[in-house]
């Protein structure tokens, strides 16, 4: 199987122009396989969890307000703008390759610019706030993750540890898409020089062919990762068990029930006053993450 696409340039030299579209199909297949696998697991194998009763909720989080803020409006807006941009990018970038033709280039680069702007904004923001720790995957996260996987493997009786505000999977997903995003954004911005945009007229000769080839490969690989990741992401967003997360991203809050059910109040403490609780460094990080909202 060819992993890359190569052509003969006008001088008859073989040059790299990107990844093979086979990889795109592979990502789609992988994403679909994961989804099916998970769906089967969640539907048939995983023990059905029952939500905590009102009493349990009251007991576990006595101070919790009726609406526990999980995402501020800014976060939600930026998420949905990001989502729109990424979806646009994927649809405009991938669908034509799959054979459905429509004018995609302008939409693609506009969406790409939105993504790029978001990326820059987010990076600057995160760096300015110096709260990289909240998304750090520490030893504890790994341990927690391992435990959860173990629990999945032995689905009966083992208590699955709950996470703080940002689950390890969430963090891993974030980092993976961030890496892919940076790759597509950086290469994509350069690739805009190859077509006429409002900013510049096309000049593909600004870089040598070999460099372009590598940029196209990174762009392609980033896109392929995105394709798989976003498929899974959307699957979870729509999955009945995870739908509360989606709602939280729409409404901004979660119910105390979901809070108690899915989170470890120690790792993510909340109160009606929303006052941070001091404690371990991790708590501080979690608290600052909360503040960040």
């Amino acid at each position: 199987m060819e992993l890359f696409r190569e052509v003969f340039n006008p001088w008859g030299q073989q040059v790299l122009i990107g990844i093979s579209w086979v990889l795109l199909y592979a990502a789609i297949v992988a994403g679909a396989a994961f989804i099916i696998g998970h769906a089967v697991y969640a539907g048939f194998i995983a023990p059905k969890e029952t939500p905590p009763s009102d009493a349990e909720v009251k007991k576990a989080a006595p101070d919790a307000p009726a609406h526990i803020t999980r995402h501020t409006l800014t976060t939600r807006l930026s998420h949905w703008v990001l989502a729109a941009a990424v979806l646009t990018l994927l649809v405009t970038g991938v669908v034509p390759i799959l054979g459905i033709k429509f004018p995609w280039v302008t939409l693609h680069w506009i969406a790409g610019l939105v993504l790029a702007t978001y990326t820059v904004f987010h990076t600057v923001h995160v760096l300015a706030r110096r709260n990289l720790g909240s998304m750090w995957i520490g030893a504890g996260d790994v341990k927690e993750m391992a435990l959860r996987i173990k629990a999945m493997a032995a689905p009966t009786g083992v208590d699955i540890p709950k996470s703080g505000k940002w689950g390890t999977e969430n963090k891993a997903f974030h980092h993976m898409t961030a890496a892919a995003g940076l790759a597509v954004v950086a290469t994509g911005l350069l690739m805009m020089l190859r077509v006429n945009t409002i900013f510049a007229t096309a000049n593909p000769y600004i870089l040598p062919d070999s460099t372009w080839g590598i940029l196209f490969v990174f762009h392609g690989l980033g896109a392929v990762v995105f394709v798989g990741a976003i498929m899974v992401h959307i699957y979870f967003a729509l999955h009945p068990e995870k739908r509360w997360i989606t709602w939280s991203m729409i409404r901004g809050w979660i119910s105390p029930r979901d809070y108690v059910w899915h989170f470890d109040p120690v790792k993510w403490p909340v109160s009606s006053k929303s006052a941070p609780v001091s404690g371990s460094p991790r708590r501080e990080a979690a608290a600052s993450a909360n503040r960040d909202q």
């Binding site: 001088w11 008859g12 000769y205």
Partner: protein, 803 residues
């Protein structure tokens, strides 16, 4: 001596029936049992070094017989151009050749060859190459310094001073100046000074028949059938390229499907089938050159980027011309086009002072060669519109300004203070003006009818009109016929037939009793000029006249020996040598041939004159004993330079909404001495004008500057003129006054009409555009529109090449 009755007559060429019935054999029309076919591997890069070649798969391909690489062909010092190379200097240069049982097998085998190139720096635009740090076309440098190649780079300030649309003018390699006080003094005397950036583009010759060749070896002799402009000279050139004596080359080129300067002494690639045939044990090998290949190695006209400044007195007299030209000479030999352009300019305007500066730059584009009117065909159309501009400023008639400056028989011109053998330029201008009705038509200049604007222009052109000193060879055989052997080529000028008339005329022979022998060295041809540079008509009317006179003398001498009396008491005519006063006493040609064979010695070709060329000697010796044989060298005086002159007048209608134009009327008058073949002369002149107009309008080439790869490999893209691009009628006349140094009086005509045609068209278009700008080719609709819409600005740039 008999009265001339053949010179000046319309006699249909002997070979015409073959041409119009499909029986004429051009190089590719030969077929032989077991013939192999060749395909070439051409360089995809404009400059590279072959790093490795793997032929194994190609050699294993069924039907592949032999592969010839650059290592097996003669290679010599630059600028010698090898037929195959491992350091290609332009895209399309042949790297290796495959001979196989058919073309498809050969082509498929090429695709099986693994070849690796190391790209080298390359230059496409001469001006880029002259910039500081600009690319060099060869590893030795970028420009000619005399015969050597060296590096010429100009300072950035030169380019900065020129600005975006100006001509950068750095130090040049060649420079001359004449006239008292030089151009400085000349300009000081001027009342009006005009200066202009001027440009003429490069373009492939594109003869309709490509440079196909077929070869085989038999009994140690090489048989080669190819398409060349000259037979005797090409035979010698091919032999030289192969490093073998010319006697061992049997050279056949009966018909040549056009050359226009690209096939003067054959082509470097012509020896490829010869060498392949040698590798294949002598089997016939055909190399059909395709249009793609013709575009690559079929030669092209050198382009020029330049600038001119002219000074005029109020009476229109040119006091100074300062001409600066950068020549794009392509990837190999140095061309002399810019120098010739300057020489022609110094003759058509006879400026009181003139300076000429030029630099010849190598680029990684196809090799250049003379193309019909080399130099003149670029110089005239670049300069004539500038002269028109001066005339407008002077308020002077444009015909008058040319009359004032044009040459006469008494003119001494140029840096050599050169004298002319004859000049009827004033007559040509007057006759043309009269035929064209210049005064009435030029009054219509600028008339507007809707979007169509009338433009009227004329251009005056010149070119060398002939050489001398070549040989003639005649045989009178026992069949009573006069056989006129001709070593020139048969490329459509009819010169091979028409110049033979000179010999027949001297001998008073009926044309029906003459046979022209041409097209194959096996028929024993004399040392003849190349069919190029408008020299053939002059050179070979002289040579055939000389050999006619020699034959006349031999016939007189033979008759006096056979019949008594002094040789001078005999005359020749109507196929007989007879005693003056008693025509009944004499010998028929048939009898003379018999007697000559019997007598031997100088009559039978056994003893030959000392001054004839070795090739003529060999041919005559081979023919010896077959009849009465005369061989002679043209030793008539030729004490000055021979030039022909052409004036072309054109009226056009330019549609300023589309940039297209329609040529309404074209009139051409030539001073080319005595007319030999009126109809053919008119055809040569008119067709030259049309070629020139086509060049000035659409015929072009384009090479991508980034990749150095040719984009106009198709005739559809190269756009030579079609039958619809001009009017349906062209008017032509010849002054028809003899050149005194040629006993026949004729001068050549091939070259000058081209510059006259393109010049007249550009002047007429410039006139229609209100004198905005015309010194630029190709003046395609986009440029006309651009000049009209932008008040003289060429949107693509005045010096931008390949547009």
């Amino acid at each position: 001596m008999a009265e001339s009755n053949l010179i000046g007559q319309d006699i249909v060429s002997r070979d015409l029936v073959a041409k119009i019935t499909g029986r004429a054999k051009y190089a590719e029309d030969y077929r032989a049992e077991g013939m192999l076919f060749t395909k070439l591997l051409l360089s995809p890069l404009p400059h590279a070094r072959v790093v490795s070649i793997d032929l194994s798969a190609a050699l294993a391909h069924p039907g592949v017989i032999a592969i010839l690489t650059a290592d097996e062909v003669p290679q010599d010092e630059f600028p010698f151009e090898p037929c195959l190379t491992n350091e290609p200097r332009y895209e399309g240069e042949p790297i290796l050749a495959v001979a196989a049982v058919d073309e498809m097998t050969a082509a498929d085998a090429i695709e099986l060859i693994r070849i690796e190139f190391e790209p080298l720096p390359f230059a496409i635009d001469p001006l880029d190459s002259l910039r500081p740090g600009g690319p060099n076309a060869t590893l030795m440098g970028n420009a000619y310094l005399g015969r050597e190649v060296g590096e010429v780079k100009w300072e950035q300030s030169v380019f900065d001073a020129a600005g975006p649309d100006g001509m950068p003018m750095g130090p040049t390699e060649d420079e001359w100046e004449f006239g008292e006080g030089g151009v400085e003094a000349g300009f000081a005397k001027a009342d009006v000074i005009v200066e202009e950036v001027i440009y003429s583009h490069s373009a492939t010759h594109h003869p309709l028949e490509s440079r196909t060749a077929m070869s085989y070896w038999q009994n140690g002799k090489l048989y080669i059938h190819c398409s060349v402009q000259s037979v005797a000279q090409s035979r010698r050139a091919i032999a030289d390229r192969l490093g073998m004596p010319f006697e061992d080359v049997v050279f056949v080129s009966e018909f040549c499907g056009g050359g226009f300067g690209s096939k003067i002494r054959g082509s470097v690639t012509e020896i490829i089938p010869s060498l392949l045939s040698k590798k294949a044990g002598g089997r016939p090998v055909m190399m059909r050159v395709t249009r793609n290949e013709e575009t690559a190695f079929g030669r092209a006209r050198p382009g020029m980027q330049g600038w001119v400044k002219m000074g005029f007195r109020r009476d229109g007299r040119m006091t100074a011309m300062d001409l600066y030209l950068v020549q794009d000479t392509g990837s190999y030999a140095r061309q002399g086009d810019t120098s010739t352009a300057a020489d022609c300019a110094s003759l058509i305007y006879t400026p009181e002072t003139m300076r000429f500066r030029t630099v010849t730059v190598l680029t990684n584009t196809p090799p250049r060669a003379a193309q019909r009117g080399p130099g003149g065909a670029q110089g005239v159309p670049m300069l004539e519109p500038v002269v028109d501009r001066a005339a407008r400023q002077l308020g002077m008639d444009r015909l008058e300004i040319r009359r004032v400056n044009g040459p006469t028989a008494a003119t001494r011109f140029g840096r050599g203070n050169t004298q002319l053998t004859s000049c009827y330029a004033p007559e040509a201008l007057s006759r043309g003006a009269e035929m064209f009705n210049w005064s009435e038509r030029s009054a219509r200049s600028g008339q507007r009818n809707g979007s169509k604007v009338t433009g009227v222009g004329l251009a005056f052109s010149t070119y060398y009109g002939g050489t001398s000193g070549w040989d003639g060879l005649l045989v009178i055989r026992p069949d009573g016929k006069l056989y006129i052997h001709q070593g020139v080529g048969n490329l459509g000028t009819h010169a091979v037939m028409d110049t033979a008339r000179a010999a027949a005329d001297v001998l008073g022979s009926d044309w029906e009793d003459c046979e022209v022998v041409w097209g194959s060295s096996s028929l024993h041809l004399p040392h003849s000029s190349t069919s190029s540079g408008s020299q053939t008509t002059h050179a070979h009317t002289r040579a055939n006249h000389a050999v006619g006179m020699a034959m006349y003398g031999l016939l007189q001498e033979l008759a006096s020996l056979e019949l008594g009396g002094s040789p001078s008491s005999y005359a020749v005519g109507n196929g007989r040598v007879y005693r003056i006063g008693s025509p009944g006493s004499g010998l028929t040609f048939a009898q003379a041939a018999q007697r000559a064979i019997t007598r031997g010695g100088k009559f039978s070709g056994a003893v030959l004159p000392d001054d004839i060329n070795e090739m003529t000697r060999n041919s005559a010796t081979a023919l010896a004993g077959q009849g009465l044989i005369a061989a002679a060298k043209d030793t008539y005086p030729h004490t000055a330079r021979t030039y022909s002159f052409v004036a072309t007048f054109a009226e056009v209608e330019v549609d300023v909404e589309t940039g297209m134009h329609r040529v309404v009327e074209v009139t051409t008058v030539a001073d080319c001495g005595t007319v030999v073949h009126p109809r053919s002369l008119a055809a040569q002149a008119n067709a030259g004008v049309i070629q020139g107009m086509g060049f000035a309008r659409s015929h072009k080439w384009s090479i991508d500057p980034t990749w150095g790869v040719h984009l106009t490999k198709r005739l559809e893209a190269a756009k030579p003129p079609t039958i619809l691009d001009g009017p349906t009628q062209y008017h032509f006349a010849a002054v028809d006054l003899p050149d005194p140094q040629n006993p026949v009086g004729a001068k050549g005509i091939g070259e000058p009409p081209v510059g006259a045609g393109s010049g007249a068209l550009l002047c007429a278009i410039e006139d229609a555009l209100g004198g905005l700008y015309g010194s630029h080719t190709p003046m395609s609709p986009d440029k006309v529109l651009s000049i009209y819409e932008n008040e003289g600005r060429v949107a693509s740039g005045r010096l931008a090449i390949h547009v």
